[in-house]
Structure formats: structure tokens, C-alpha cells
Symmetry: C2
Subunit: 343 residues, 2 copies
Amino acid sequence: MSEITIVEIARRCGVGVSTVSRAINNHSDINPETKKRIMEVIRETGYIPNNSARNLKRTDAKCIAVLVRGITNPFFAPMIEVVEKEVEERKYALVMRHVESHEDEVDVALELEKEKRLRGIIFMGGAAKHSAEKIKQLSVPVVFATIGSDIADDLSRNEYSTVSVDDEKESFKVVEYLIGLGHKKIAILTEGSDTPSIVKLRLKGYLGALEKHGIKPDEKLIRYVDRRIYTFSNGYDTTKALIESGEKFTALYCISDVLAVGALRALADSGIKVPEDVSVVGYDGQEIAEYCVPRLTTLRQPMVDISKEAMKLLFSIIDKESGHKHIVFPGELIIGESTRKIK
Amino acid sequence: MSEITIVEIARRCGVGVSTVSRAINNHSDINPETKKRIMEVIRETGYIPNNSARNLKRTDAKCIAVLVRGITNPFFAPMIEVVEKEVEERKYALVMRHVESHEDEVDVALELEKEKRLRGIIFMGGAAKHSAEKIKQLSVPVVFATIGSDIADDLSRNEYSTVSVDDEKESFKVVEYLIGLGHKKIAILTEGSDTPSIVKLRLKGYLGALEKHGIKPDEKLIRYVDRRIYTFSNGYDTTKALIESGEKFTALYCISDVLAVGALRALADSGIKVPEDVSVVGYDGQEIAEYCVPRLTTLRQPMVDISKEAMKLLFSIIDKESGHKHIVFPGELIIGESTRKIK
DNA sequence: TAGAGCTATGGAAACGTTACCGGTAACGGT
DNA sequence: ACCGTTACCGGTAACGTTTCCATAGCTCTA
């Protein structure tokens, strides 16, 4: 443990601690020569100011936190790029935190808030419901990105912001597109956890579209992936199981592109041709959709727009130029090569 | 800003601050009833201990830091899973930090070290060379995962650990495999930055294999991707350029699976069949390699083993059960469907 | 019954910074 | 010769914790 402190530096330089502090934080009231001498000593001793002590005193550090559940999901990559750029532009510090599977993102935020002098928080991914009580404890503005506005029913909607697509509506659109192609036996790969989430909305959209067109939903065509984390293999296994169950289906709707890629492979391995035998559609519009074979039809969420808007909104709330809002972006159905009219 | 402090809690409860502290940290010397009363007040006021102040005093918090350059790269996903599990098992706290493109990971570590009471640091990804001077400033054990042992020539090898594959040797193996299939015109997609990195080693392995088999390397077949971040589109564009240059090649070696996936698409778009016309091989052994069409031949790094070993090693160094080491795992050539004997 | 040994508590000194408040010296202008 | 500035700098009080030490009230035991 580097035991050396600002006091030690001051002693070695034969100056007062405040002078050292001034040197470090390049304040004005200091002789350039003294400063040089001090910096010299600092460099050669390898002294680093203790941040805890700093934060304890300081009150002006401008910092925003971004908490991402499942930061390794490539879905977030373009969003994170935007965030980094935006934050740097405004001269804020950024702390990006991956929230682990067993952690509660709001708890993490709560902790972070005391540790750093946060000015705002952005949540990405994660559960769509949170305890209103907890969110209220957060004393800085909060915006949820990619998660719709019904995060906590019992929480006044103007205590937090959301920027997202309308998952139910977009999902509806996707399924209606498939129906328009003549599909009636449409299977869906979705997530089984019972925590309320955006995924539930996608399922709702699916059911809604079927209903509107008088197609009776078939329990057996609704498949749940095992784990909450989306992986190719998860999509693969679930699709395999679906195929082996012998249920007939002509289209497969995966609520995430990652699952869809796994599904494509499973279908191919079983000798089922896409799109000749089965049409496949994904959701999210990740980069991979363009690169798989066949190119995946998917619902693109405007990730960049969402994150840009989330940042803009957060900053304007911080600057009191705006109150909380709930912004909905339209999704875009990208037609790839994985879907076609039914024969 | 939640202005309420431990003093305030003490005041409201009519007890001393030390008693409150005892309650919070569930120490033994406290009347259960007092404790209950205090906890009650804490809950209803929403008080959260200030972590900066805490860390300033505390000296026993067991915490390890994991710094990942490009945490959104799916390559790290399985490694991060391991880390989380391992850390939790040992009852350490974990701070996982994404290091941004413009940051220096050692600087970030240095800062973190003062902020938290770190016991150890793991670096994943990132540059393969660091200033020895800086690394020495780190006062806790450091292990680099996926980065070989020549991180800083001028630094004594027993001041840090590494766990990785031998990138040069594995790369050699890959190219030799292609040569064994009869390929002579082997193009490579690599990275152009001049910061020393593991990628350089892979290029070296490529050149070495060619030389050993008496094949003269062709400048025009060595292609550099634009940006340091690997993306599908980066692989796509660079491959497109290669194809359009008219250079003849029968095999394409991409130093990352991500690039390879982009390459596959570019080849397909140009009507070049894989593996009939061109063999393609990747590197890393990411999950995607198994799911693309055709399945990618790739060099699998044992990500899970590497990260497990890295954790084990770090902990044993922390516990003084071991000194620094440099562990090399063998890679494994996974034969997919993207390579074949030349006609 | 005096002292020893608990249990539960409060007081206060750190931890390493920063920021405010003064103080000294030098210097120029009247 | 005096005063007002200015340029530097040092001392010290916070910041919110934890931890050591002291103490008060007990219960035991010899």
C-alpha cells in the first residue's frame, strides 16, 4: 500500500500541505517554481492523491454513472460508444458499471451515489420494474434507456425518464408482417423469467397480432429459453427442442437477434431451409443480423438515437432545462433474407 | 443529495455515533434492541453510509478490480462470468471497470487503488506493453489475462503475472495448418496500430510459418483493418478491398473471429464460395464461430481456463502462497467448415 | 463486600483531502 | 515613509466514517 500522503509530500518539499494541494489541482495562487519542485517530488515518489478523501471534501466533481445489466451483450456496444462520446464532450466524468446478475441495479446506483458525487444516472437493460421506494432514494436524475415507461406503476411518472421503443407495438408489427406473408403457425422464442420485463411486452404484442387476425395462439408454439442471458446456444437448444417436438410451424419469431442466430443454426442442422421452409425473424437489429446467413429479418431498435436522446435528456434535466419525459422512438422492420411469403 | 449522515442518525436515536456504526456493521458489542431501533431509523430515513469516508478509514475491505478494455467485446463474456463466480465464492467484492478507448488502463487502476482498498487487479485485453514505471506504482498484485509475458521488457518478470496462450506459436500453427492444406497464397487480416500488442505476435507467427515453408510473404496480402475495435463491418470492408484489389488468394486468415464473420459475408457478396474458392480461418474461438455459416475454422483460446487460472493465481499471490508466474495455455485449432484442401 | 469481569455505550482521535482565512514579504505609488 | 496591492504560502477546520479507549452499570466470586 503506497503509504505516502500529501503530508509526506509537503514535508519532503518543506512546504505546507495546502501548497501541495494547490500544486496538484493547479490552482492559481502558487509560484510556478514551487509547483515544479513539488510536482517533481510527486513524480519521483509515485504519490497519488487518495480519491476517497478527495470525494469526501470535494463537491464540484461532475460525474454521471451508467449502469448496464449485461454489459457484455453486444447489443449495448453502439450505445456505450455514444455515451462515452457525449459525456466527454460535456466534460463530465463517467463511471460505467456492469451490474452483475445477482445485484440490484438501483442498489448499486445508491452506493455509487454516495461514493462519487453523481449528477445523473442512466440505466441500460435490466429489469423493467423497480421498487418505487428505492428509485425515490436516488437524489439525482435518472433515465432508463431501452426500457419503457411503466417501470414502477406506483411511482409518479415524472420522477424518472425513459427512452425506448414501444416494445408491444413493435412486436405487434413484426408478427403482423409475418401474418401478412401468409404465416399462421408462428412460433415464438421468448424468455421465461417472471420478473416483469420488456420481453413480456413483446410477447403481448405477439399475442395481440395473432388475436387481431383471428389466429388462435398455440401454447406449444410459445417456447421459453432457459436462462435470462441470451446466448446463441440458448437459442439453438430451444429451437432444437421445438423442432424435435414435432410441432408444425412456418415462422419463428425470436425476441432477440442472438437467439435468432442460434435458431438459424438449429434449423440448418435439422435440414430445415430458411426461408424456404421456415421464416425467421429477430428483434433488436444488432450488427450480427446483417452478417449471418441468411441475413436476418429483424426489428431494429434505434440504439444510437435512443442513447443520444437519453444523454441529451439527462443533461437537460440536470441543468434544469427540462423535466422528466418519456420518449418513444419508432422501431424499423429490416427485411432480410430470412423471411418470405408462404407458398 | 441525501444530506443525512451517521451523526444525524445518532442524534435521532439518541445514541452515540459509534453505536450506530456498530449497528451498521453488525459488530458484536451491541444490544440487539438498540440495534433494532437504529436499523429502523436508518431504514425510514433512507440513510446510506458514505463510502468515501468509509474507505478512508477502513483497511480490511477485500476487493479486487477487473479492468477490461472493450468490455462489450463478446470475447470477454465467458471470462467475466467466471470472474464473477470466482470472486463471489471467495467473498471478495468486485469492481469491474470498462476502460475507455482514450484511457490508460494502468492509470485507471492507479486511481481505483486509492479509491478502494484493492487487494489485486486483473487486466483483460488492452495494450500488451505498459510503462514499467507505472506498473510498479501499483502496490497490489497484478495479473494480465490473455496477454503474454512480454508486457514490459524492462520490468522484472516477477513483478506481475500473465495468463495467456502463446500467440505467436498458435498463430504459427494456424498458418501451418493452411499450408498443410496446400495453400500458398494466404492473405491475413490484421490490425494496423503500431502500439505493441498481441496482434503483432500473431502476425509474427504468420510470417514465421510462411518462412519455414519457403513461401515468400506478399505485402499485398497483408491487410490492416482501419480501427482498433474489431467489428463485423471492419472485417467486411477490409475484405472487400482485398477482393477488389484483384490480388489472388486461396486462404484468408483473420486475427479475430469477429473480423472473420465480416469476411465471410464479403466473400459471399462477391460470389466467392467458402471453402470451395477460399478457405477462411479465424482466431479466438468465440461462440459465434460455431454459429456462422459455414462454421468457422478458428483457433480457440481456452477463455474459461485462462480466466479461472488468472483468478486462482491472483488469489494465491494475494495470500502469499505463490509468487508471480507466467502461465501459458495451449490453444486449440477447431476445424470448421470454412477450410478445405486446395484442389 | 471489594474487586474482577462482562456488556453496552459514548467520546474522540484518526483517515487524507480541500478550502477558507490569514499572514508575510515585496513592491509601487503617493 | 507609509499604505494598498499583489503574490505566495501555512494553519486548520471540516468531510463522514471506524476504532480505540474509557466508563458506567451489572453480575459474579472469593
